[in-house]
Structures are given as structure tokens and as C-alpha cells.
Symmetry: C2
């Protein structure tokens, strides 16, 4: 019996770390580890032990003092909290380079996100088979979403087509979107959107590289010593 009334809110930062813990716990479980301490988990996840404990405490108190956490039980609790007790079929919009790679990448289905369909607006792409799924025309999107009960849409189109893809996904009834296009989507407030943008990531790395290089120059110009940041 789980009291559904406890509508506790888990901080975003914690939610984004839970999947990492979950993967590590799964791996540890597979190699026979039965218990793990916050310190052990922290090391494997590359974070602070106190943070692990605080994160896990939002799920409830599932650890045993002096012992640690029982891996199998913690896996169950994290999965439950993340809503991973059942599969979430996803639909991919865009069968270009990226869409093909995503559909071909088996990891989706394994991790509980089977590809319910992949669609494209380009007739010439319709019909080909990617990772066991036939590409369908984007007009069939509403039907796929409804019959397969899809809540999550993945946008893998060029930037110019992304807003249209988002509109169609929302109209079809999708409530969460993972956007790979380099575009800020405009969607109703209730829709959850996450963005993955390669160019942004590379540019952030570029910033740090530039900083690394410019630091020396700057130090020379200013004549002031600089300490390396961490």
C-alpha cells in the first residue's frame, strides 16, 4: 500500500540524477552486489555522497544505517518514482540522419522506450524500414499516437521543420517532447519539453577551450597570475 496522497515534489536536479543512479544500480546488481553505500554509489556516479543521500531521501527512507542501500529494492523504488514500471512508447518525427540513428539504436526499446513509429513528411522516405520499424507519412501521426497510446514524441527534423513537428505532436495528443532540433519550440504550457542540442554542447566546450588558451595570453597582458579553476 503506497499512500498516493504524499504528493512530494522532487527537485529537478535530483530527477536528472536518478536515471544515473538507476543505471549504476542495475549494473551493480548484475555483478552480484547486494548492498551499496551512499559513498560507493557516489563514487560510481561521480558526485558527492551527501548529495546521493539527499537525493534518495526524497524517495523515502530506503537505506539502512550502518549497512547502506539494498540494491534490488532501491532499483525498484527509483524505477517506480521515475515511472519506469511500464514501457513508454515513443514516436520519432524525422527519418533523416538522426532519426535513422535513433531508430536503429536498439537502446531505446531495451530501456523501456520502444519506438512505436517513425514518420517523415517526405514521401520518398516513407516505406523504408529502420530498426524494424517502417517509416510512415507524418499525416499518420495522430493514428499512431492514439492506437499505440504514445505520450512521448522525439523531434529529429531539421530546425526549419521542428515547430511544425511540435505542433503536430501536440495536436496528436503527445504531452512530452524530446527535441533534437536547434530551435526554441513554442508549445502549450502543459507540455514538457527537453532539448538536446549538439551545437550548444560543442560551443560550451569551445568556450572553455578558448578560456584555457586565452587565459595565458591574458595573464601575460595583465601581468597577473591566475589560478587554474579547480
Amino acid at each position: 500500500m503506497s499512500p498516493e496522497r504524499t504528493r512530494r515534489r522532487i527537485p529537478d536536479a535530483t530527477v536528472s540524477r536518478l536515471p544515473v543512479y538507476l543505471r549504476i544500480l542495475g549494473e551493480q546488481g548484475e555483478v552480484g552486489v547486494e548492498n551499496i553505500s551512499s559513498e560507493g554509489l557516489a563514487e560510481l556516479a561521480g558526485v558527492n555522497a551527501a548529495k546521493v543521500r539527499k537525493d534518495l531521501s526524497y524517495l523515502g527512507s530506503y537505506g539502512t544505517r550502518g549497512v547502506g542501500y539494498e540494491v534490488a529494492y532501491l532499483v525498484y523504488q527509483v524505477r517506480r518514482e521515475l515511472g519506469l514500471t511500464h514501457d513508454w512508447p515513443v514516436v520519432i518525427v524525422g527519418a533523416g540522419n538522426l532519426g535513422q540513428a535513433l531508430a536503429g539504436y536498439g537502446g531505446f526499446g531495451e530501456r523501456g522506450f520502444p519506438v512505436a513509429g517513425i514518420v517523415d513528411i517526405d514521401e520518398s522516405k516513407v516505406g523504408s524500414v529502420l530498426g524494424g520499424t517502417r517509416v510512415r507519412h507524418i499525416d499518420e501521426l495522430p493514428q499512431i499516437v492514439q492506437t499505440r497510446r504514445v505520450n512521448i514524441g522525439v523531434i529529429a527534423t531539421p530546425g526549419a521543420a521542428a515547430q511544425d513537428a511540435a505542433d503536430r505532436l501536440v495536436k496528436a495528443g503527445v504531452t512530452s517532447i524530446l527535441n533534437f532540433a536547434p530551435v526554441v519550440l513554442s508549445v502549450p504550457r502543459a507540455i514538457e519539453v527537453r532539448k538536446v542540442d549538439l551545437a550548444v554542447e560543442l560551443q560550451i566546450l569551445s568556450y572553455h577551450e578558448q578560456r584555457r588558451a586565452g587565459g595565458a595570453i591574458h595573464a601575460v597582458q595583465n601581468g597577473t597570475g591566475r589560478t587554474a579553476s579547480a
Copy 2:
């Protein structure tokens, strides 16, 4: 002491937004917009106007009160700050599904990150051509990194091979890594690592979906308001 020393440190949160501003400014510039207000830019970027102003203020005072920011000049300043005044060649490790998609995706080169090479440990993949680049054996990594002066490495291997890929990249002299493998990398402190993990993103969406389902409390108010989310 010298205020010059602190002037140049830009908060992480700001750094991760600058690329978004930059893309929007570029688009606006192309359609002939010469000046843009913090409010206008904020709307297009899906953020708060005050945040835009504060972000831009870290670059210096490049706006004109009563007018806004000159698009062309701001583009120049942001590019300079992000180190985008010259290209940053990247090397891709792993010529599987994802590596192929990344190499085939032209957007890299266009945005200043040309693919200097793509390597794989599997001899059978060596020699094939992806996006104009021939796949080479991973043993050639040091040579590629040195001759092409590569600072940024992209890991597109399966999880099991990712740590080895990281070790090789670091040894070859790479100082920034973009990691697509679902693994927490262990690297020297000085190396900058950014991670992109599809499974994590999907699981975060799953959390919100699960939350939505559990909370019949929220009468889904048909919000007419649209929000921009990044």
C-alpha cells in the same frame, strides 16, 4: 585586488544560454534586423528579459539604453566570448550508428566544428567513408589529434568502450570531451567533459508523465497561454 581578474568569469548558466542567443541573433541578422531589445531576444529565446540583460552584461555593456543591442556587433561579441572566432576541429571515436549520424550530419562543419577524423577500434569499419571522412583505426588517434590540432573529442561508442575511448583521447592530447555513451567517465580534473544521454532525457520525461498520470488532482486547464521552452 585587480577587478580585471574577476571580470571575465561567466556563470555556467549564462554560458549555456549564450549559444542560444547567438543562433537567434544570427537568424535575426539574416532577415535584416539591425537592433534587438532584451525583451525581443528574450521572447525568441524563451527566457526572461532580465536574464538576457544580465547574461549579456557579463560580456560588457554592449547595449544602448532606449534602443537595444546592435545585432551584428552583439553577434561578434558573443562569438568572441565563446571562442568561435576560429574553427575547432573535432575527432569522433566510434563509427557505429551514432558516429555515422554525427559524421553524416553536415551541421558540425557549418557551425565551426569540422570533423577532423573518425576512428573505430573495429578493423571491419576502417576504410568506409562517412560524410566525406574516411574511418581510420583508433591507433591513429594520436596522429590525427596532433596533425590536425584537435582539442575536442566526441565519444560515440557503446558504453563498455567509452572509458577506453576517453583514456585514449586524453592521452592523445584532447582537452574537451563530448560524451554520448551512458557512462560516467573518469578523466583528469583539467579535462572538460559534457555528457549527452538520451536514456536520461527520456527517463526525465517519463518522470513527468508518471507524475501527470498520478495527479488527477490537476484539472487539465486548457491553457491558452503558450510558453516557449528550451
